[in-house]
Each structure stands twice: as C-alpha cells, then as structure tokens.
C-alpha cells in the first residue's frame, strides 16, 4: 500500500490541489522528484482521471503549466455555492484591445488606440483591473516613455491557451476575398473617391 500511496500521479495530484496557478513541468518535477518520463506518464493518467467526461474537476494545460479547475458543466453549482455570479463577459471593445496586445504587442496605449481608431484608455484600464492586460515595460524611444502593454497568464488561462503560439496567425483570420471587399468598398465610398474614378 505504501508504494501505491507514493505513486507519481498522487504526488502530482496533491501539488496541483494546492495551486490556483498553472504549474510548469519543471516546477512539478522538482517538487515531486519525478523524472521526465515518470512525470509524463503520470500526467497522461491524470488527464484521463480528470477529463471533462469523467470528473467535476478537470486537468487543463494552460499558460505553460498544469492546472486543476472545476468542470464548466458544473459551474452553476459552484456559482450557487459561492453566491457569486459569473463575471460579466467582456465587451467587443475589450476583445479588440486584447487582440491588439496578443498579436501586435507589447504596444503602447496610443498604438492600441491608433489601430482601433478610437481612444481605448478606459477599456485598457478595466482590462488591467481584471488582470488580463499588464504593463510589461516602457517604450523608451517614444516621448514620455509610455508603458507597453501585453497579455497576462490569466488571459492565457481564461482563453484555454497553453501559450501565445496557441492562437491562429493573424493573417489566417481574414481571407483575401474579405480584404479585397474592404478595398472595393473604400474605393466606392467617398473617402477614396479621389484616387479612383467612380
């Protein structure tokens, strides 16, 4: 029985229970003293044990680590227990700002506003408040060294991404056809009329 108690998967389970943040493989290894191989095979077993189909607690690979969390299928019970409503969904503007930071960042507030064509300071502030956006440095080449914004690990966890590379490339999101349509529309509208006989 002692052997069973010390099974690699148990050590990992115990460590995962006490963290609300994703734990990277190297931290798991050094806490449990497991080898790479032991860790991998134990994690494979745990992925099954804590799969959404078979458990109210699920094992996720997010933000570069492993994290236990509740199964969304059970979220209503959790929210009732905590007497907490689910946080309000983000606005379209907030998604756009996050997309800027994810794909074009780190970038300044001014750069976000320039891309979106509207002042985005209020949205940025609320995203920083929600821990989805963070100041990661400063643009020292610009006057006043404005802060540079990037997405956080919480953002990765909230989108179920294991890393920034987990998102489709920006160019793949828009088809050439769509881009052509934009140009056409622009040409036929008054704005670009000067360059294009209508």
């Amino acid at each position: 029985m002692r052997d069973q108690e010390r099974r690699p998967a148990h050590l990992i389970e115990a460590v995962l229970l006490v963290s609300a943040r994703p734990i990277g493989s190297s931290d798991l290894r050094s806490a449990t003293g497991l080898s790479d191989q032991e860790l991998e095979s134990a994690l494979a077993g745990l992925r099954e044990r804590y799969a959404p189909e078979s458990s109210g607690i699920v094992l996720r690979e997010v933000a570069g680590g492993h994290l236990l969390s509740t199964n969304p299928a059970c979220s209503a019970a959790v929210e009732r227990f905590r007497r907490e409503a689910r946080p309000a969904p983000l606005s379209g503007a907030a998604h756009e700002v996050l997309a800027c930071a994810l794909y074009l960042g780190p970038l300044t507030r001014g750069a976000v506003s320039r891309v979106r064509g509207v002042n985005s300071d209020a949205v940025i502030r609320s995203l920083i408040e929600r821990n989805l956006l963070v100041e990661v440095g400063a643009d020292h080449d610009a006057p006043g060294s404005p802060a540079l914004l990037g997405v956080t690990d919480e953002f990765l966890a909230a989108t179920g991404a294991s890393s920034r590379k987990d998102f489709p490339p920006l160019d793949s999101l828009v088809t050439q056809e769509e881009l052509d349509r934009v140009r056409e529309r622009l040409a036929s509208s008054g704005t670009a009329a000067g360059s294009e006989p209508s």
Binding site: S113, V115, G117
Partner: protein, 241 residues
Amino acid sequence: MTFEPLGRSLSDFTVELDVYSGPYEWLLALILKDELEIFEVPLRELVESYLLVRRPGAANGLERDTDFAGSAAALILLKSRTLSPAIDADSEGIEDEPLSPEVLAERLTEYLKIRRAAEHLKDRFVLNAGHYTSAHTIAPRQGSLSINLDRVSLAARQAFSRLIEPPVRHLGPITVTLQQLAGIIRTAIAGGPVSYESLTSDMDRMNRAVAFAAALSLAQEGSLTLTQAEPLGPLTLEPSR
C-alpha cells in the same frame, strides 16, 4: 423648443440588446461617456425596438418620434465617425491628418484583422468560461516576494493623478449637457459660419460627441444649417437664414 425633451419624452422607452438592456436614455448616456462603444450597438435593432413601442396616437407621439429620430441620427453619425480610423486628435499618438486612400486601406485592413481576432478571442473566452480554480492553496514562502520600490512610486503616481469620472451606471435621469453645448453653438454661429472642427477643437471626446448631437438637434429645430461639401469632409455650422 428646447433640448430638454431629447430623451425625456422617451424616458419610458427601454431596449433589450445583446450589449445592453435598460432605459434608452441611459444607453445614450453610456455611449456618450465612452462606457459603451457605439460600434457594439446594433442601430437597426434599436430602430426596430422603437417601432414596436411607437405610439403615433399619443399626446406626445410626434415629440417622441422626433426625439427618437434626432438621437438615432446622432448615433448613426457617431458610428460612421467611429468606423473611420484616426479621428481622435486628443488622444496621445493619434494624428489628425487626412489619410491617403492607401494608408486608410492599410489601416482598415489591419483593423479588420484585429476585429476578426477579437471575435476569435470571444469564442475562446466563452468556451473556457466557468473554470474555477482550487481554493486549497498554500501560502507562498514568507520573504520570497520582492516588490520594486519604483513600481510602488509609479503606482502612487498613477492612482493619485487619475481623473475619476462619476460612475454613470447608477444614474437616474441623465444629465447630458446638450443644452449647454447648444448655447455654446448658438453663441459661436451668431457671428457667422463656424466649422465643427474649430468649434470642438478644445473639447474632449465626450463634449465633441454631445456637441454633435446638439448641432443635429439645432439643425432639426431649424436654428442652424449643417453643410458638408463632400462625404466625411469638413462640417460647417451656419445660422439659418
């Protein structure tokens, strides 16, 4: 006729949209205060909801229709301006120069990509919502946290220099300063035609938006004429003859 009635006659008009549900006049306030992006408001649905509750036979029916038409027109104008990039001269790093069609096309292309990426993100957020983490966490080792002193100073500077606008979500009746801005416009055009750009050059984003609505209402009332030689070109306000 004054500007009082704008919205007031519509005080019982409530809307149910994906992005907002509640009194129409609060919706206007939220948009004007930048709390809600005009981009997200489906104007067509808004008009449809109004048509459902329209009361042509009521005593103030005409007034209601006029108010709604006036405010909806202002929203459409605001939305069209939002769609055109780089209009916000008062925010840092945003130039106010006219853009060449090539640059504009490039910007719109970039924006379109971001817009698509945002939609993709939205789906991912929805798909991943409802994951709550463990509450059985253990406290990290004492003394291992390091806080940067400069970062605290910076945070103090940020927290203490922030201009805080009163929250509008709890507002009862809205207090948009349409009337005040209408007064400013009346005074400005008393001496002759004025361009919208010069009139609003010193104003912040919200006041510009309200000035827009005020100018539209004045035009609707017949107190001034709005002229725009070309689409998206300069807008001129002149006293009605």
